[in-house]
């Protein structure tokens, strides 16, 4: 078996991993969305490259051509691209709202704020309302 013939899948895998890496290693929410769209494109490449037939032409019927690439993946991916942008826009809208609520789009900052809020609630619930020095110490760190 000639292994080089599989190169299209390897390109897909590499792109997918770059996208995956951005999503899990970066804390900035916008960067994560860009990573997600790279991941998405890699799946598009997987479908389209599977539909390709060597020596064929685009699937628009004409008397001069006999061999066409597979049109089915094209249909699936075409709609997926437009749906992809709609969901990305949704994600961006969420990012805007998160920024308005927290003043940051870094995951760790948001986490710290959430923890502080929870600690505050906890202190209040157990009657330590005046022991704010506990809370403030935590915040300074």
């Amino acid at each position: 078996m000639n292994i080089i013939g599989l190169y299209n899948y390897w390109i897909v895998v590499v792109l997918m991993l770059i996208g995956f890496f951005i999503v899990i290693a970066h804390e900035n929410l916008i960067k994560k969305l860009v990573g997600l769209s790279i991941f998405q494109t890699s799946v598009f490449f997987l479908y389209i490259s599977m539909g390709k037939v060597a020596g064929a032409t685009a699937p628009i019927l004409d008397e001069n051509y006999q061999l066409y690439s597979n049109p089915l993946p094209h249909v699936l991916i075409l709609t997926a691209i437009v749906v992809g942008i709609a969901t990305t826009a949704m994600g961006l809208a969420l990012v805007v709202r998160i920024y308005e609520a927290y003043g940051s789009i870094e995951e760790s900052d948001i986490q710290v704020q959430d923890n502080n809020d929870r600690l505050e609630d906890y202190l209040e619930a157990y009657g330590h309302k005046n022991d704010t020095h506990l809370f403030n110490q935590d915040k300074d760190e």
Binding site: N2, L6, Y7, Y9, W10, V13, L15, L17, I18, G19, F20, F21, A25, H26, I30, K31, L33, V34, G35, S37, I38, T41, F44, I48, S49, M50, G51, K52, V53, A54, A56, P59, I60, L61, S69, N70, P71, L72, H74, V75, L78, T79, I81, V82, V83, G84, I85, A86, T87, T88, A89, M90, L92, A93, L94, V96, Y99, E106, S108, D109
Partner: protein, 316 residues
């Protein structure tokens, strides 16, 4: 290579511009792989609208990424392990460009051989999209509609704020005379091209999805250069928001009309006496529905992000 550069940069503006370039490169690669319709969509959506929306968001959030406190070693490990497994998985796959791969055996030959007699339009992608897989496309259109509604509810700005804000905040590019003149010349061409793509989708690459996006891009260009208040005089936000629903209803309405005429849902054969003519009419209407929804949703998305920016400026 562009993708790798994206991971390394912390200036989000550059990241977004690079991702636009990346999309354009993908589009040319799709073209090389015979997927003309997909290339068309990726070029207009990925390199156009998506970059715009990211930039609109960047206006509202900080531009620079913070340095992460954690080392990415763990993430890198996970990624490499996944990659090794995926590469191992590809070893069984059929080779690139093989004509007898399983993908090409199932329904594809029927589409390629019979669609000319059954549907009667040369672009097989359009006939599958609108006719054979009509349900699927209806679902996708609904997803776009839903996403539009989602953004609408997330980024709401009250009418009173809008009116007050508009009086105080002028459009950003009011002074870019060259851009404004060029845009004025381009705009009719963009809109006519969108209509051409819409109605010529049966014969060449194109269709409702691409046309909708191009049309929206024209309107967005106008909004960017001439400001929201002027655009509001041309197209009312309320009208655009209603059009998002109208497109979906037109699509579903064609399906129901088919049922009333005695066929199945989205079975266009019964629309006219001659099945092929019925298919033509059905596909035209359905693609129009898709185009209207896509264009209206994209315009609404951009309007919402821009309103948010105007509101922020006003509050400052």
């Amino acid at each position: 290579m562009t993708a790798i550069a994206i991971t390394r940069m912390s200036d989000l503006f550059a990241v977004v511009m690079l991702s636009g370039i990346y999309s354009l490169l993908s589009a040319s690669l799709f073209l090389d792989l015979d997927a003309v319709d997909v290339a068309f969509t990726e070029a207009s959506v990925g390199a156009g609208i998506s970059t715009l929306l990211f930039l609109a968001t960047l206006k509202l959030v900080p531009r620079y990424e913070k340095k992460s406190r954690y080392k990415p070693t763990l993430a890198l490990g996970v990624v490499i392990a996944t990659g090794a497994l995926l590469i191992y998985g590809t070893l069984d796959m059929p080779h690139f460009g093989e004509a007898d791969a399983p993908v090409h055996q199932h329904v594809a030959p029927r589409y390629l051989n019979d669609s000319m007699n059954e549907v009667g339009i040369p672009n097989v992608v359009t006939s599958i999209l609108a006719s054979y897989r009509g349900y699927d496309t209806l679902g996708e259109t609904l997803v776009i509609f839903t996403a539009g509604i989602g953004v609408l509810s997330l980024l709401m700005v009250s009418r009173r704020t809008k009116e007050k804000a508009l009086q105080k905040v002028p459009a950003d590019m009011q002074n870019q005379i060259i851009l404004r003149v060029v845009a004025k010349m381009m705009l009719p061409l963009i809109l006519i091209f969108a209509l051409y793509v819409q109605f010529h989708g049966d014969y060449g690459p194109g269709g409702g999805f691409q046309a909708g996006v191009i049309f929206a891009a024209g309107i967005i260009l106008y909004t960017m250069l001439f400001g929201l208040s002027l655009t509001q005089k041309v197209i009312k936000t309320e009208v655009v928001e209603r059009l998002t629903a109208f497109g979906v209803l037109l699509y579903a309405g064609v399906g129901i009309a088919c049922m009333l005429l005695g066929g199945n849902f989205l079975d266009y054969n019964v629309l006219r006496h001659d099945p092929v003519h019925g298919q033509h009419l059905g596909i035209l209407l359905v693609e129009l529905g898709v185009g209207i929804t896509v264009a209206a949703v994209m315009i609404t998305l951009f309007f919402k992000f821009t309103w948010r920016t105007v509101k922020h400026k006003y509050n400052q």
